[in-house]
Symmetry: C2
Subunit: 501 residues, 2 copies
């Protein structure tokens, strides 16, 4: 393909994607294919000769598209959102067009430096303490990792390295391997599976401590676990706090837990993969009260902040902890100090290579502006609250627990089985997509506002689909609450989400 | 940005990138900026209001572009290539446009299945044994990882898990932690730094064994290391063979080493990050003779195979080894068997999330065709051989060792210092970019054909720049060899690289 052909096919691809988004409401959110559908459709061998370019786009529409679950559909309410925006795509095209790798500063100075700049921007927008930022005097700084999974593992490995160095300083005769085997990591039983996996990958026992009735891990529970393990001769090393759990989006109380970690010399990592984005709105920052106790903080800009995967934004208070753990060259600390303002990011992460990922963060921040991003978060939370009100007005349903961020959990009052049936039937219908979880031993359905396209009418559409399916399972009692849909105007002011954004 | 604005700005971005490539020869390959240049240029805080979209592209050209090292420039001869092509960009735009995450099959069936299909295609193109492929009857299969670093670490962790399970089967009373501490990994001293780092990250001692005079690790060296360690009570666990070392692109002899690993029950991982791409041409497959002994094989399609970073293609003979190591859900083996043809890739990798990366591999294979990809490899090797001939005709220079793939190492006969000076002076001129390495204790300059745009004239341009700089250091002796440039037509047939591809 020469550059003239690229101009043509590239623009046709831009139109294809724009059309896809313009007409996304015409598609079922879930596809109607069986496992193996594409293996049967596509040839077993690669083509020998190049195919006509237009044909590739046609193949995409005819073979790939039918097997897509439409995460950007307004009726996608499963998991948490995955970031996508036109602004992000512009950044990605620029990044792919340059095709540079930022293995060192001189391998492409702008690649390293734009990451520093945008991570300062984002860190300030989130209200992170100064010491986490690259622009502070100290050794703190931000870096883009591939995923929250990666960030959790990177910090676990750094915590392990830091702890063993501290212990060896006190007692150089220590058996390093045997001591490391005694290290223990902690998190709550509400953690994402990737946190548990970090323990497996990083060879550290990971204890999933029991959360309370509200899905929060309490300080006393953590303290007891530390004491229990120390009594066994084990060494507490790493703790992952969840700001916004995967199930019900509960928030651990950092201000309660932080001092305990500090006292014990345990690395406190904050996993705010989804909900962290909300901290760009000052009214939600109380949920990260005590953040100054954290050693590291991670949020996925590629979840709720309109940046395409992968862009996991991680900050550490002390980047030397990463460099000491990951730099196989063991460069002199003097060099590191000089480099502090222009970090050698390859020593802050697991792989050697790195894409120019900050470009998409940059285009998103510039094209939305801080206010545009805050509006996105606030609108989505408003829409979730609107959905919760619709559910609450139908007495066959219970909203439980209280909605958190853009997540609403609900169930049928008639029990777990019928709630599961409702979800199963809805999934089979393929018109909207939700997943379930457990709250206080009850099965609840999670409804998340995910797509940036979702507006008030879409929420009503989703609710009507749910209600209709519930009607099949439980005939609706005729009472005031059941007429929720016809009473929209009485619900008071909610943020209006612009369709065209 | 609404979809209409995206159509406009998206197309303007396509033109910007096409223009960039059309005019890439007008730029110095290396930028003229000092560390911190961008930190000074850009505002310290994110903009509050959205910026005009056109302005973002203008800012890109004015602030980012001056800080770019142009990896796709025909005069970029450093490291190894990083993949970039218009075909790959089309795949990326489609992937970003869909914005789906393939955490499970049903999270987007096509995302999992296209990866299966394209990895079968690529595995067959490379001539990998059937048992590595998803389409085989057995438990083998291919997956796209983020980088060769990640693949090396993933397999190290799987090897560790497999070994401990085997040992525990024989003796369930074993102390698991203490036994794991005895595991040792091996590679040659020519390995990429990421292999050494995998040992650090995966908590396994990694021994860098001495390679021979040709940069190859010999079977006897490995055997001796095994014996030595076993005598100390240690347990050989993992070996990384290098097919194409980072320095001089040497090839370990798998057929020699494989049987020794097999006998010892050591996991044999083959790191063919760069050179692996050449195996799509049958004439280079002799370099992977013995590949049937490998447990895992990795090559970066994002290096020499025109796919944009990240697309590291990894195959394993037994995917259960990965699932056993990484699946925190510990699902029943029966499920795994059913899923074998449609794998749950999240259990084959470290992170939970996964982008739709196979789309760009798919567009590249379809738009180039297998023959187009082979032509790319062959043309680049021919160009490297052409460069070698130019150097050899100048008696001030020595080409050493023999060129391998698209890499030519050379030095001035007058010694290391003057060779270093030559490289330093050339780097300061910024017109071409090469890096050095050590071969048989001599400093050599590495010249790699990297860009897909590089043609015969570009190679001549690069050589003339080198020659000119050498003239400043050593006056050229007037002899027949020195007139190489004027004798092109006598060099015989070499592959002609089409400018317009």
């Amino acid at each position: 393909m020469n550059s003239q052909e690229f101009r043509e096919i590239g623009k046709a691809t831009i139109d294809l994607i724009a059309d896809y988004h313009d007409n996304i409401r015409n598609r079922n959110v879930l596809p109607s294919v069986e496992p193996g559908y594409l293996l049967k459709l596509l040839p077993e061998d690669a083509p020998e000769e190049p195919e006509d370019h237009q044909n590739v786009l046609k193949d995409f529409c005819e073979t790939i598209m039918p097997g897509i679950t439409h995460w950007q559909s307004p009726q996608f309410h499963a998991y948490f959102p995955t970031g996508q925006s036109f602004a992000s795509m512009i950044g990605s095209i620029l990044s792919d067009g340059l095709g540079v790798i930022g293995i060192t500063w001189n391998a492409s100075p702008a690649c390293t430096e734009l990451e520093v700049v945008t991570m300062n921007w984002l860190g300030k927008l989130l209200g992170l303490p100064e010491e986490f930022l690259n622009c502070s005097e100290g050794p703190g700084g931000g870096i883009i990792q591939g995923s929250a999974s990666e960030a959790t593992l990177v910090c676990l490995l750094a915590a392990k390295d830091k702890k063993i160095r501290q212990l060896l300083e006190n007692d150089p005769t220590l058996d390093e391997d045997q001591t490391k085997n005694k290290f223990v990591a902690y998190t709550s039983d509400q953690c994402n599976s990737s946190v548990e996996k970090a323990g497996v990958l990083g060879s550290m026992k990971m204890r999933l401590l029991k959360s309370d009735n509200n899905g929060q891990l309490r300080a006393q529970t953590l303290k007891d676990a530390f004491e229990e393990d120390k009594a066994k001769g084990l060494i507490p090393c790493y703790f992952v706090a969840n700001l916004g759990t995967t199930g019900i989006c509960a928030f651990d109380l950092i201000y309660e837990i932080g001092p305990i970690c500090q006292e014990e010399g345990v690395w406190l990592h904050v996993d705010a993969a989804y909900a962290g984005a909300a901290f760009i709105c000052p009214e939600y920052r109380h949920l990260m009260k005590g953040i100054e106790y954290a050693d590291s903080f991670d949020m996925n800009a590629h979840k709720w902040l309109l940046v395409n995967f992968d862009c996991s934004a991680m900050w550490v208070k002390n980047s030397y902890d990463l460099i000491n753990a990951f730099d196989v060259q063991r460069i002199y600390l003097d060099d590191v100090k000089t480099a502090a303002k222009v970090p050698d990011y390859r020593h802050w992460q697991m792989p050697l290579g790195r894409r120019f990922r900050s470009l998409k963060l940059w285009t998103v921040i510039k094209m939305y502006g801080a206010e545009g991003l805050r509006k996105h978060i606030r609108d989505q939370i408003s829409l979730a609250q609107y959905f919760a009100k619709l559910v609450q007005r139908d007495e066959r349903f219970v909203v439980e627990p209280e909605p958190s961020m853009a997540l609403v959990c609900f169930r049928l009052v008639n029990g777990d089985k019928i709630t599961r049936d409702l979800l199963d039937n809805l999934t089979k219908k393929k018109e909207l997509f939700m997943v379930g979880c457990t709250y206080r031993e009850r099965f609840v359905i999670r409804f998340v506002i995910c797509s940036r396209f979702t507006n008030k009418e879409d929420v009503e559409t989703s609710w009507n689909i749910i209600k209709e399916e519930a009607d099949q399972l439980i005939p609706e009692k005729m009472n005031a609450k059941s007429h929720a849909i016809s009473a929209f105007d009485q619900l008071g002011t909610i943020g209006i989400y612009e369709k065209s954004k």
